[in-house]
């Protein structure tokens, strides 16, 4: 009884034969058996294997959301009436893993399920009618779904014959998951879940015969597993990733962390004096060293640095950037910041900045104690702000207290994220939307924590969401970018990433900088696409 995890895969490939198993890891702790694909709390979601069983109608590339999706279970789709109507053509010849064919009825049922169960309708899509005829499914929506179009197309399909028997689909753990994907469940333990290849699949069968998902208790354990090769694919924050991971096997250990359209930055409470002054916020932006944050706080890969002054991550959002900001990249410019401040009436006396009323400018930066990358970022920001005489202090709050403070607008500034989506709309909406603005002290907001009040921005957001043509949308987005650059309601630092750490020792064909066919994160829908593209190394 002396089997050793580290040599697990090499035994499979030792005899010169190619690998058959792919070891995927996530740092999410012991799991309980729950294969319900709707539930973020399920082991399927937590480890990502739900996407190996349940497939979407259309495969959208998460890092290139503006590209048209790849037909998957739907062969064709058509939006009409300013994105309030969608007609889908469903692929023929697809079978579920229990052998039953997948039909348009299953697709319609999958939508109906979401419409009927608020808990399962995670994106709150305002479904209207859902009709099905032949291999066609038609949907209507009560509002324009331009901004949600990808979310609707990426909906996965569940078998009606199984799900209609569930008493409460919200709470079923779906012990026998049945889907159209190429894998089926082999075994489940709290530590690991194993999937095996199905006999038949509507596409060419993947080369990976068995997928082994292991759940490590924490980042440390996951990192160790990655470093020693027990884990071949994972998404985890690894400090000093070069030393800890890559250098362990420079040939094969790879990190690729492409950005998506969601960002992280320093949110500033725009109601507090003197931070209600955009000049001050712009000056702060000018001195905050995004590169240091990227390198030191995010280990050089985790939240890719945002280069553009508009806060739109590149390359994912490259195409959205307004012409006037196309080449404007952020750079630390202390003198520029000082000039800006001087123009706005601030005075730098010694190393203390005084606001126009003569009061020294101080700021408290706050984030939960446990979030080491954010706290590290704050340490850096604190240091940066001191170059223009702002005295910052860092408050490592209790997580709940911090949530409450942000919710009620009771903070000076702190690192926080924005929503993400197919377009930069989600980012800006989250930062500037006047419709979700609540006064300081009142909670329940789900965005605009900085209480940024700009009717102009609100109008532009509204226009973007409901515009009927691309030109109007572009115009609205350009307006938003301009507001962002001029007002700086938040100081962007890094983009969210949907990347991964992986090893090419046994498997090749991973997405990377050169071949960006999918985001690399194993818990994303696109993971299936990756698995389908993997080939044994050396084969």
């Amino acid at each position: 009884a002396c089997s050793n995890g580290d040599t697990n895969n090499s035994t499979a490939s030792s005899g010169g034969t190619a690998a058959t198993v792919l070891n995927v890891g996530m740092p999410n702790g012991p799991q309980t058996e729950n294969h319900n694909p709707f539930l973020g709390s399920s082991s399927g979601a937590s480890l990502g294997y739900r996407w190996m069983i349940y497939e979407p109608l259309v495969m959208i590339n998460g890092i290139k959301p503006q590209e048209p999706g790849k037909p998957w279970l739907a062969t064709e789709w058509k939006w009409a009436d300013n994105f309030t109507k969608l007609s889908l053509t469903i692929r023929d010849g697809v079978t579920f893993s229990d052998g039953k064919p997948m039909t348009a009825a299953d697709v319609a049922y999958s939508f109906q399920l979401r419409k009927d169960n608020e808990g399962l309708n995670q994106d709150a899509i305002p479904y209207g009618t859902i009709t099905q005829s032949g291999n066609k499914v038609d949907l209507t929506f009560t509002r324009s779904q331009f901004v949600n179009q990808n979310k609707i197309l990426a909906v996965f399909v569940v078998p009606k014959h199984q799900w209609s028997t569930f008493k409460d689909p919200n709470q079923d753990t779906v012990k026998q998951p049945i889907g159209t994907g190429p894998y089926k469940l082999k075994s489940f333990t709290p530590q690991s879940t194993t999937l095996e290849l199905r006999g038949e699949y509507w596409q060419e069968l993947p080369k990976v015969k068995e997928l082994r998902y292991t759940s490590y208790n924490d980042n440390n354990a996951q990192t160790t597993a990655l470093a020693n090769g027990a884990s071949e694919w994972s998404f985890v924050f690894v400090p000093n990733v070069k030393t800890v991971f890559q250098n362990k096997d420079p040939e094969n250990h790879k990190v690729w962390a492409p950005a998506n359209l969601g960002i992280h930055g320093l949110w500033i409470n725009t109601t507090r004096k003197p931070f209600d002054n955009p000049a001050l916020r712009r000056a702060m932006d000018k001195v905050i060293n995004r590169d240091d944050i990227f390198q030191q706080a995010e280990a050089g890969y985790f939240y890719p640095k945002i280069e553009s002054v508009t806060g739109i991550p590149t390359p994912a959002g490259e195409s959205f950037i307004a012409p006037e900001f196309k080449d404007k990249l952020h750079a630390v410019d202390v003198d520029g910041a000082k000039a800006e401040l001087a123009a706005a009436g601030f005075k730098l006396e010694g190393d203390t900045l005084k606001d126009p009323s003569g009061k020294p400018v101080t700021i408290t930066l706050t984030d939960p104690a446990g979030w080491s990358d954010y706290i590290t970022s704050l340490e850096i920001i604190k240091d940066n702000l001191s170059t223009i005489g702002i005295k910052a202090s860092i408050d490592k709050a209790n997580q709940d207290a911090w949530f409450k403070a942000f919710d009620e607008g009771d903070f000076d500034a702190g690192m926080h994220w924005t929503n993400g989506g197919a377009t930069p709309y989600d980012i800006y909406q989250n930062i500037m939307d006047g419709k979700i603005l609540k006064p300081v002290g009142k909670g329940g907001v789900s965005g605009n924590y900085g209480r940024f009040n700009s009717p102009e921005a609100t109008k532009a957001l509204d226009q973007y969401a409901n515009a009927t043509d691309d030109a109007a949308r572009t115009a609205a987005l350009n307006t938003l970018q301009k507001i962002m650059v001029e007002q700086m309601p938040i100081v962007p630092t890094g983009a969210s990433n949907i990347g991964a750490l992986y090893s090419t020792k046994n498997w090749v064909g991973w997405p990377d900088e050169q071949n960006q066919y999918a985001p690399a994160q194993p818990t994303q829908q696109n993971a299936l696409q990756i698995v389908l593209s993997l080939k044994p190394a050396g084969a």
Partner: protein, 326 residues
């Protein structure tokens, strides 16, 4: 008999108090599970998704605390501990059922081993005062003053490197399915060695010390001198007279210290990524998953209570003086 009845009354009361505390603690917690999930999915969860979670978890309903309390008792009696939020909708009892054996196997066995080894060494150290065993004391004291987690992490770094015999995490080989075959059990044992040794090192000193002190105290009792005077063999005097009597206070100490040990477990499980109940608690606290938190806390408390009951009974059997009739 009376002693036992008193103890049972005490256990019932304590169980009630613990279960009640258990009910109130989560309700005093300001955060809620959804915000914690948001944290977990930093930035990857839309605002709309958050609202749907509230509905999903049934947090949009309001009920009076009293009716919740009554419901809660009903649930406790039915063995229904509710559904976990972190692993929604898995029942808490399933999660606990899955992790409890690990904790019991690791901590239970190690604690017992530590008790036995520590007591044994303590007996010798107390009996042969001034021998080399006394030199052991400062060393074990130092070792037990090291925080569990620190010792564990150092052990992992030094001993569980690449290609080492000791795995650095988990309860068994990933990919194995728990079952009663030699491969699995071997793997489980192999995975438990390092954490077990860590626990042993940090907890054994307490037993050595208290046993030694008790031995020293007992060794000067008259009946020990009489035992010597009777010309019994040294071993018999040490075991049957001195150690047997010195053990008594340690038995109750053993039960009471379980609470501390369970606390320590949590750290060992965190550090060694061991799939036990302590780690569940850690997860539950992080995720504000109060059904799970309640469940874990309940299980811990009840098991400490049960251990106490067992220790009481053991004490009853070991010490005839408490067995008074009437």
């Amino acid at each position: 008999m009376k002693f036992l009845l008193q103890r049972i009354a005490f256990y019932l009361f304590t169980a009630w108090a613990a279960i009640t505390i258990n009910f109130f603690i989560p309700r005093l917690i300001p955060g809620d599970p959804v915000t914690s999930l948001i944290n977990k999915f930093q930035g990857q969860m839309s605002t709309e998704a958050i609202d749907s979670l509230y509905v999903l978890f049934g947090l949009d309903k309001d009920a009076s605390v009293w009716s919740q309390y009554v419901d809660y008792w009903g649930q406790v009696f039915r063995g229904d501990l509710g559904l976990s939020f972190t692993f929604f909708p898995t029942p808490v009892s399933d999660i606990l059922g899955q992790s409890l054996p690990w904790t019991i196997a690791l901590v239970g066995i190690t604690t017992f081993a530590s008790f036995v080894i520590g007591t044994g060494l303590g007996v010798l150290a107390g009996w042969r005062r001034g021998s080399w065993l006394d030199g052991l004391l400062p060393v074990t004291t130092f070792l037990s003053s090291i925080p569990y987690f620190w010792l564990g992490l150092i052990a992992i770094t030094l001993l569980a490197g690449q290609g080492s015999f000791f795995p650095s995490s988990g309860g068994y080989e990933p990919g194995l399915v728990p079952s009663w075959n030699s491969e699995f059990i071997g793997s489980a044992v192999q995975h438990s060695l390092l954490p077990a040794v860590t626990i042993l090192i940090s907890s054994v000193s307490g037993w050595i010390l208290s046993m030694r002190n008790m031995m020293v105290t007992v060794a000067s009792e008259d009946y020990i001198t009489v035992a010597h005077a009777k010309g019994l063999s040294e071993r018999r005097v040490m075991v049957s007279y001195a150690a047997r009597n010195a053990l008594l206070p340690n038995v109750s100490g053993f039960a009471l210290s379980l609470g501390f040990i369970v606390g320590g477990t949590l750290l060992v499980e965190i550090v060694f990524s061991y799939p036990g109940i302590g780690y569940n608690l850690f997860q539950a606290v992080g995720a504000k998953d109060y059904p799970l938190m309640q469940g874990v806390f309940l299980v811990i408390t009840i098991s400490v209570l049960v251990a106490n009951l067992i220790a009481d009974i053991a004490y009853l059997l070991l010490d005839p003086r408490t067995r008074k009739e009437g």
